[in-house]
């Protein structure tokens, strides 16, 4: 039987997939030779809404940018069994490369299964790993398998997963907890959201395996409240899994018992820091704790606890089923398996990319991402969000590997990969991230609370044209001391975007401070708008649109802008049909 499947992850819904789904449904009669279904996000966010047409389990056509008005055409074609009329909607071969070049483990079911249906998950070997573990492996063997796989924490720090599991396992105490950090707060990161929305059972299964390995009696997902769809899908998946006997008491009759629940966070970035997350879980203000004790010894309710990120757990079931060695065969010497990246920014094809470790950034950006929009030049890529750093164009051949990336001053991070083109001001970029971290600082330690604020103030004055000699050095001094003095990861990594932009784009800082000029022509206070008299046709369009009455000139003669009046809104530039207005 034919099946029309609409991708309804958050990205799809944002692009109108919900309406497309409803429109398709409205076109259907009671008796159709096909079914309508829905799935999560397959990662090709740049092509949403995406409609896949299946014949049985075989994908026969992938239609992209299917807005609601195209529903009727889709339905008629599928009904008629002749899809040739849909060729305009069919994905272009070069866009297909976006997926074909990926290796999917964590995302293996995303955009394929129906996330709200456990049966759909089980069809693709769902819960087989849990069954295997519970029936044929000791917790120690599970930990050993994870150790063999080389799986490291995908939240950013890259700490060996087996080691944490083992520490929690070895930690004395009857009551232990397994926690999933789904407080994905980095601007530009949405890997974890996709997993929960599109494949929630994979997370549950991974967590239950981990719970078994460490001996936890309860597993808790701490998920950010800003992910409503993820919460709905997770909640439903928990219900189904409990019904199917994969969570709760005496699971699969093996005597292993573990409860499972989720808790929605309240929107603090710092709650992605594990000890702050625990505080929040306990109902307290989200502020990091002093370490030690580490959570493995005294975490949630001061009991031994293990915390991993969503993507880490998403790999676990696959590793158990396919063996740690197979996972470890991918990647580099010290970074094994695959890594998911959320590719955003000035990239042509933005979305989710999962590739084996060891490939180059250039491969991800150009071969998979299709390069820069409007054929502009790439300037840099930001890895690791506000805690990470930028990597300039000349280092794009750096391979994806924890150590290699750290050597550039950036970090692997949780997978946010923001691409910047030649028109991106790197000082402005650093300012953006500092604005974020300073607002998200919990306020506990001095270095972070006041330090990031002072850094932001200095960056603000630089982009406003009030930078002073010595500001770069002052920023650097602050950066190093904040890294040394801040209490938790948020503060310790907050200076990274500033340090890396100074390291690679010091000339841009110097231009802002010394010449009061923004080389990328992005900082509004440093821009001047001009009309090229040779190009201006005197059409008066700009003058009419200018909200500040700053443009004067008579019909059919070159106009000019009064810099005193100009508010640098850019309306004239976007209005001009003759490309006569330029910014300097």
């Amino acid at each position: 039987m034919m099946k029309i499947v609409v991708g309804q992850g958050s990205c799809g819904i944002a692009a109108g997939a919900g309406k497309t789904y409803e429109a398709i449904k409205a076109c259907m009669t009671e008796q159709e030779p096909f079914e309508l279904g829905s799935t999560g996000c397959n990662g090709m966010c740049f092509l949403e809404p995406i409609v896949d047409i299946y014949d049985g389990h075989k994908l026969v056509k992938r239609l992209v940018n299917v807005s609601a008005d195209k529903a009727e055409a889709v339905v008629s074609a599928v009904r008629a069994g002749d899809l040739s009329g849909l060729s305009e909607m069919v994905i272009k071969p070069e866009d297909e490369e976006f997926l074909t070049q990926q290796t999917r483990i964590a995302l293996r079911n995303c955009g394929i299964i129906d996330p709200e249906d456990i049966a759909s998950y089980k069809e693709r070997d769902g819960y087989k790993a849990l069954e295997k573990v519970l029936t044929s492996m000791t917790p120690e063997e599970v930990i050993e398998e994870i150790k063999v796989s080389g799986l490291a924490g995908r939240g950013g720090a890259g700490f060996p997963t087996w080691f944490k599991w083992n520490a929690a396992r070895q930690s004395p105490g009857e009551e232990k907890y397994l926690i999933c950090n789904a407080d994905e707060g980095d601007p530009g990161a949405f890997m974890d959201r996709a997993v929960i929305e599109s494949d929630p059972h994979n997370l549950i299964e991974g967590m239950m395996i981990a719970a078994y390995a460490i001996g936890a009696s309860e597993a808790i997902v701490y998920v950010r409240a800003e992910y409503p769809l993820a919460i709905i899908h997770l909640n439903e998946a928990i219900r189904q899994a409990r019904e199917a006997g994969y969570i709760g008491q005496n699971i699969l009759g093996t005597g292993f018992s573990c409860e499972f629940r989720y808790m929605a966070g309240a929107g603090a970035f710092v709650c992605g820091e594990e000890t702050a997350l625990i505080e929040s879980l306990e109902g307290k203000r989200g502020m990091p704790r002093l370490k030690p004790p580490f959570p493995a010894a005294a975490g949630y309710k001061m009991k031994p606890s293990n915390i991993n990120n969503v993507e880490t757990f998403a790999n676990v079931a696959w590793i158990i089923l396919n063996g740690g060695e197979k996972f470890a065969a991918m990647g580099t010497e010290n970074s094994k398996g695959t890594k998911v990246f959320a590719l955003t920014g000035k990239i042509r094809r933005g979305g989710l990319v999962e590739i084996p470790m060891g490939q180059t950034l250039r491969h991800v950006i150009f071969d998979i991402g299709g390069g820069i929009r409007e054929d502009k030049k790439i300037k840099a890529v930001q890895l690791g969000g506000p805690s990470g750093g930028c990597i300039p164009e000349h280092l794009l051949d750096t391979v994806i590997d924890y150590k290699a990336l750290s050597a550039t001053g950036a970090i692997m991070g949780s997978g946010g990969m923001v691409v910047m083109d030649e028109n991106t001001c790197m000082v402005g970029m650093a300012k953006f991230f500092l604005d974020f971290t300073s607002k998200e600082s919990c306020g506990k330690c001095v270095h972070c609370r006041i330090g990031t604020r002072r850094m932001l103030e200095i960056l603000n004055r630089i982009v406003e044209g009030n930078g002073k000699d010595g500001d770069i050095e002052l920023l650097e001094e602050l950066c190093y001391s904040i890294k040394d003095g801040a209490l938790c990861g948020l503060g310790q990594t907050a200076p990274n975007p500033v340090l890396t932009t100074i390291r690679y784009f010091r000339d841009e800082y110097e231009a802002h401070i010394g010449e009061k000029r923004c080389p990328a022509a992005e900082c509004r206070d440093l821009l001047m708008y001009y009309i090229d008299p040779d190009k201006c046709k005197g059409c008066t369009a700009c003058a009419r649109k200018c909200p500040a009455d700053a443009i004067s000139g008579t019909v059919k003669s070159a106009h000019s802008i009064d810099p005193e009046k100009c508010i640098k809104c850019g309306t004239c530039k976007s209005t001009c049909k003759f490309d006569a207005i330029y910014v300097k």
Partner: protein, 725 residues
């Protein structure tokens, strides 16, 4: 318990396994600074001040909360730790919106704790007030009368209506201390009254404050010059147990206070009483001795001459405080004529003629200056000279000043008093020629000026209006345009380009070993009396350290200061209370004699005036852990100047005023209320930089739980929490 051994800052420390680095350090006498740690409260790790670095350990550690491991070699003084700690303190100070000390005190060259003594005056403790003043200034009754009071110029009360009358309050208290004023109708003949029952009012009077003198050190110091600077240095050196002798060329001590300031502003019997108090501590005062060769002014001729060299031989240290006693000349043709006098020469001549200790201030001999007198200059010496001329019977007294009243350096009050006494101000004029007949002054030709562009000092400089002149008939011309050092006898010293002694600004050292120099005779030249007093007390500290074997330069202590604009806004709505005006004798009365012009504050008024104080300085200054810690480092918070966190002052808890402007968010108040008081009344509101501490949910029932234990205020490392009542 298993013992471990660690090394901190090179010192081997023994502790128990599991103990924090801080605990072991403290037990072994190694100091590690911290602000958020407090004994009996759980570790928190917020301040980042207690960072230490361990050899071979990658990350800096918080000493308060890191359990030490056997064998660790730690330091609080590595480059990395010092930088991180310095930044933490600079960040804290940049966000600490509070005044350590009042702006009055900050603007006082002697750093006198005005807020402190005003508070005592407000409480009626005049004797206590004097004790506070005498920590920096041994001459409060005199200085209170004559000081141009930079303190008042900085007084925040000026943002409400008018500054406090600080100087005059000081002399009120000091007069009381000297038993000079009602109700203790005291001694006026120069004898010292030491307290006891007063026959007239039948109440017990505390004795005049006599500071403690430390155990004799056996060191001898000679102070050359008995003016305010020299007397101050002598006073403080004596208090530290040194044997001090003050030599002065004049017949009496007091320097410019005695021979420059006229009797009607500072009665000499009062100055004499204060100097007697200094002598009473055991300072030897030797008059009529000068250094070096020929004496210039007539009065000096009787003085015995000794050499600087002999003093250096006889004493362990020498402090030169000889002042600037040579008048600058007018600098126009004809200035050599008879009847052209130097301002301070003229004042000295009059001072020598005033009957000592005569409350009426009568002259012992006539001084003839004629009926028409022109004084050149716009400073306080010019005001003293013109008002003295009025009192000597001159009918037409002119002040010739090349700028306008706005630019005059003299005190407003002095100018007003002079105008009231009939002095004519010739603004925008400058002497062009002094015209004499038979060698005696007859007329003065004045060049008319106008104001041009501002000069380096910011004042608009006067420029001549070409061809425009004015001529005045005069009998005497007094040049009060400046004064400088007479270097006779000090030839061995190093002088600057202006012929002034060069002394190190932080140590007061001259080029000669063991010889220090302060006051008008040094560096920038003549200044006000309180500036010399300031140098006197700082020099005393330095010389004391020198005598103890290691010279410690004076360093102005770092203090936190609030932004004036913010304060101005805060004070805009403050209830007004007018400044109490000093009652004076009428111009008609006072222009005929040298009796004191000021009548003194009534007690009622002085208490009222003292109560106007806004108490800008912090109540916790002496105990503040933040400022103590900040001062241990070379910090410069100004480079990290930026926005302050949201601040407010509220008194919601029973008897605690919480000033969030000063809060450093160590959360000790919250934690001690939770953990020790078991109340949990306070909590954090907001996030990050905008976090503030408030009673939980601002809920009255929660606040009502406050049991007034003050544990929070005791734990607070700054002055953010103040116990009221």
């Amino acid at each position: 318990m298993e013992q471990i051994k660690i090394t901190i800052n090179g010192k081997e420390c023994i502790g128990n396994k599991g103990d924090s680095i801080l605990k072991i350090a403290t037990a072994n006498g190694v100091y590690i600074p911290t602000l958020c740690h407090f004994e009996g409260v759980k570790d928190y790790g917020a301040c980042g001040i207690c960072l230490v670095e361990g050899e071979g350990l990658p990350k800096l550690m918080r000493a308060c909360s890191t359990a030490a491991a056997d064998g660790w070699v730690l330091s609080t003084e590595t480059d990395r730790v010092k930088k991180a700690r310095k930044i933490a303190l600079e960040l804290l100070m940049s966000d600490h919106d509070g005044d350590c000390v009042g702006p009055c005190s900050l603007n006082c060259p002697a750093g006198t704790d005005a807020q402190g003594y005003i508070k005592q005056i407000a409480l009626g403790n005049d004797y206590q007030a004097v004790k506070i003043v005498k920590e920096t200034n041994p001459l409060p009754a005199s200085i209170g009368r004559v000081c141009p009071h930079p303190c008042e110029k900085n007084c925040r009360r000026r943002f409400v209506e008018q500054p406090m009358s600080i100087a005059y309050m000081k002399y009120f208290a000091a007069d009381r201390d000297l038993h000079l004023t009602s109700p203790y109708d005291g001694v006026t003949d120069g004898t010292v009254f030491r307290g006891g029952m007063d026959g007239k009012c039948g109440i017990s009077i505390p004795p005049t404050y006599k500071p403690e003198v430390k155990k004799a050190t056996g060191k001898k110091v000679a102070v050359i010059g008995g003016g305010p600077g020299g007397l101050t240095a002598a006073f403080f050196l004596r208090r530290n147990g040194h044997e001090v002798t003050v030599y002065d060329a004049m017949p009496e001590m007091g320097g410019m206070l005695r021979y420059g300031i006229p009797e009607y502003r500072l009665p000499k019997r009062i100055l004499h009483r204060e100097i007697a108090e200094i002598a009473n501590l055991g300072v030897k005062l030797v008059n009529n001795v000068r250094i070096g060769g020929e004496a210039s002014p007539a009065a000096f001729t009787g003085a015995e001459v000794i050499s600087l060299e002999s003093l250096r031989k006889d004493y362990d240290a020498v402090v030169i405080a000889v002042g600037a006693w040579k008048s600058s000349s007018v600098g126009c043709p004809g200035e050599d004529a008879e009847g052209v006098l130097g301002g301070i020469d003229f004042l000295r001549d009059v001072a020598l003629a005033v009957q000592p200790y005569d409350p009426e201030g009568t002259l012992s001999r006539p001084i003839n200056i004629g009926k028409k007198v022109a004084i050149v200059g716009g400073g306080n010496t010019a005001m003293d000279a013109c008002r003295t001329a009025v009192r000597l019977g001159a009918e037409d007294v002119y002040v010739i000043y090349r700028r306008t009243r706005n630019e005059m350096p003299a005190d407003e009050e002095e100018i007003d008093d002079a105008i009231e006494e009939g002095v004519t101000f010739k603004f925008l004029t400058n002497p062009a020629e002094i015209i004499s007949e038979n060698g005696k002054v007859k007329r003065i030709k004045l060049q008319v000026m106008e104001l041009g562009e501002p000069d380096a000092s910011g004042r608009r400089s006067p420029v001549p209006v070409e061809g425009k002149f004015e001529i005045l008939d005069v009998d005497t011309v007094i040049a009060a345009i400046g004064q400088k050092l007479d270097p006779t006898g000090f030839e061995e010293l190093e002088f600057n380009r202006k012929g002034i002694i060069t002394a190190d600004e932080a140590t007061f050292r001259t080029n000669l070993e063991g010889v220090f120099a302060i006051g008008d005779a040094t560096n920038k030249g003549a200044d006000i009396a309180i500036a010399a007093i300031g140098e006197g007390n700082k020099a005393a500290l330095v010389v004391d350290s020198y005598l103890n074997g290691e010279i410690i330069p004076y360093k102005k202590p770092f203090v936190s200061e609030r932004d004036e604009e913010t304060v101005k806004k805060e004070l805009a709505e403050r209830e007004k209370a007018a400044r109490v005006i000093m009652p004076k004798r009428t111009p008609e009365e006072r222009r005929h004699d040298f009796k004191e012009v000021n009548l003194g504050f009534a007690e009622e008024d002085v208490r009222k005036e003292a109560a106007r104080c806004l108490e800008c300085g912090c109540h916790d200054y002496e105990d503040c852990r933040l400022i103590f810690t900040a001062r241990r480092e070379e910090i410069c918070p100004a480079r990290l100047k930026g926005q302050h966190h949201p601040g407010f002052v509220e008194q919601k808890l029973v008897s605690i005023e919480r000033n969030q402007n000063k809060c450093i968010l160590c959360n000790l108040c919250i934690r001690t209320c939770d953990e020790n008081a078991k109340k949990g009344i306070l909590g954090l509101v907001g996030r990050g930089f905008t976090s503030v501490i408030k009673p939980e949910f601002n809920d009255p029932s929660v606040i009502a739980g406050c049991k007034d234990c003050h544990l929070c205020a005791d734990a607070c490392p700054t002055g953010a929490l103040k116990i009221i009542g």
